[in-house]
Assembly symmetry: C2
Homo-oligomer: 337 residues x 2
């Protein structure tokens, strides 16, 4: 009898997985609408839109909101981009004020494209909570230095290992071995090209967890919807044990876009998440952008995803006035017969 009781209290991950009624409170959702969506409009969102997304995320119980990049002004001329390419402290504060206790705020810093020593302020001087270091596999040494810098300054940090679908397993393992020695809090599986299938996501998430968990770190997942798998793959990763989930409103993000925040919130049973404020923001601020920004699943993005390619060719095609001749696009990137 005592044995049974003990067993009952010992809730394993597997129990959580099969528990359709409960939820895993450790799961945190990050809304990257403004950051990833900024890749479709050179980060030129007006303040009302950014404010609306910020308010909607707070009302919906979203855990983090990502507002843009900390890009180097030496590499990227400010006149060519919107404010959210650089996320200056004053610009963020105009949206969020002091943001006390409302939602955590993050920005992304690309390895080799950020003047992080200068542009990332000490935490006590900033309203930011988290710095997410985005890196390709060959930039890992730089990324590690950025993680240490941000951590020393007082921030929570993540490492987002991009284009994972193009990296060999041995290299991924080396990167993970190096990253668990750093102060990074979360290591992200990033399917930049929307190329991964569910089994691959499960295998990668397991591999990441094998390194991260013993080191006291979390694993996250960031997907793209090239093959209409962004949401499905996010769910697969969370079932395996990923606790940090990226999503965006109506999937707004580069190319085929991301996992939809509204779909994900529908799956998570944590009652703190509310759907209605997200739908309001989508109706009033996000859908009106669709005709101009043209993000979301379409066949050209499916083709680059299937071929494990950067979406840039598909983005170029989708920017054309007509953008209907999918066969010509197929012929341009594909040789089948």
């Amino acid at each position: 009898m005592k044995g049974t009781m003990e067993k009952k209290n010992e809730i394993t991950l597997r129990d959580y997985k099969r528990d359709w009624i409960g939820y895993r409170p450790e799961i945190k959702v990050l809304d990257c609408t403004i950051r990833d969506g900024g890749l479709m409009n050179n980060h030129q969102f007006d303040e009302n839109t950014v404010k609306a997304v910020y308010q909607a995320c707070i009302m919906a119980g979203i855990d983090y909101i990502e507002l843009g990049y900390k890009a180097s002004k030496r590499i990227f001329a400010p006149k060519d981009f919107g404010l959210w390419k650089f996320c200056d402290e004053d610009d963020i504060r105009r949206i969020v004020g002091d943001n006390v206790g409302k939602i955590k705020i993050s920005v992304m810093a690309d390895a080799e494209r950020t003047d992080y020593h200068e542009d990332i302020l000490p935490k006590e001087d900033s309203v930011l909570d988290m710095i997410r270091v985005a890196t390709y596999i060959h930039q890992i040494p730089t990324a590690i230095d950025m993680i240490k810098d941000a951590s020393d300054k007082g921030y929570e940090t993540t490492c987002n290992l991009m284009a994972i679908s193009t990296v060999q397993e041995g290299q991924i393992r080396s990167a993970l071995e190096a990253l668990i020695e750093t102060p990074v809090n979360t290591i992200y599986v990033v399917d930049s090209f929307g190329a991964l299938y569910s089994e691959q996501v499960r295998d990668l998430t397991k591999m990441f967890l094998d390194y991260a968990k013993p080191a006291g770190k979390e694993v996250g997942i960031h997907t793209h919807n090239n093959q209409q798998l962004a949401y499905a793959n996010t769910v697969e990763a969370l079932i395996e044990g990923a606790n940090r989930l990226d999503a965006s409103l109506a999937g707004l993000g580069r190319g085929a876009g991301n996992c939809q925040t509204e779909l994900l919130v529908g799956f998570l049973h944590n009652p703190k998440f509310k759907l209605r404020p997200l739908l309001q923001c989508i109706r009033d601020y996000i859908e009106p952008l669709r005709e101009k920004l043209r993000w979301g699943y379409s066949i050209p993005y499916m083709l680059t995803g299937r071929l494990n390619l950067h979406p840039r060719e598909a983005m170029k095609f989708m920017e054309e006035t007509d953008a209907k001749d999918i066969v010509a696009f197929f012929d341009s990137i594909y040789e089948e017969e």
Copy 2:
């Protein structure tokens, strides 16, 4: 040494599952563009469109094409519907001629809505190859009689157990026990409401296989895209061992539509499948229908899927001229706070 050789020749399902290079030749794809898409236009496709889909499926290596229903003319007045609601032999032959050895042709017959004794001809008088009996759980006795009738007449048959997400496990097991005693060739998991998540699809597919395989029958999967899981769930079912997969061009089908044939063909490694002819047909015949028919993923369909409801309320909303106030739709079907 001999033991090793023997083991190598004994390729199990699990080996197939993990084999990213090979493929399972038993997998057959059925394109239901005209049949399920017909639910969006009262089956009023013109002959050129039906011919184009037929030709594209042949060129793409698709195994079956489904052209419509065998609906009762006593229940449904022919003047209110297109030809593909009834699939008269002469109408089908105008599209496919004698269809010798090109692709298998199926029609769907709904339990209690088909005059099957009269309207389904003996196989020797018909160009049809397969009759798919669609049934809700309470109609199983009728469905079994229809299966026997079609089988006696010489057809391959399937039983498509609709709205499975609303049926209790005990009832499903009773239905499966009854169906394996019939001559039916394939039993389909049908997620009519687009309500199922991957784990549920895996569990259902396993349950169906447990009954079907020992009886020498196949299991199929038919999905709807309410939660952008139609393709993902089809892949999950095939990984578990489902060998009959429904899909439609650009997902054309009721409400949020089906698993996209072009996505599915991209996943299957069997070299007989070709993508380009499908893209041509989508560009020239299917996408031009989108503005009028408005199928495919959208938030109203997501909401009915999430609530495990028939999509009819969402379809009504989507038919409205504007169809943008997703919050009003949410409020009309949902009570959250």
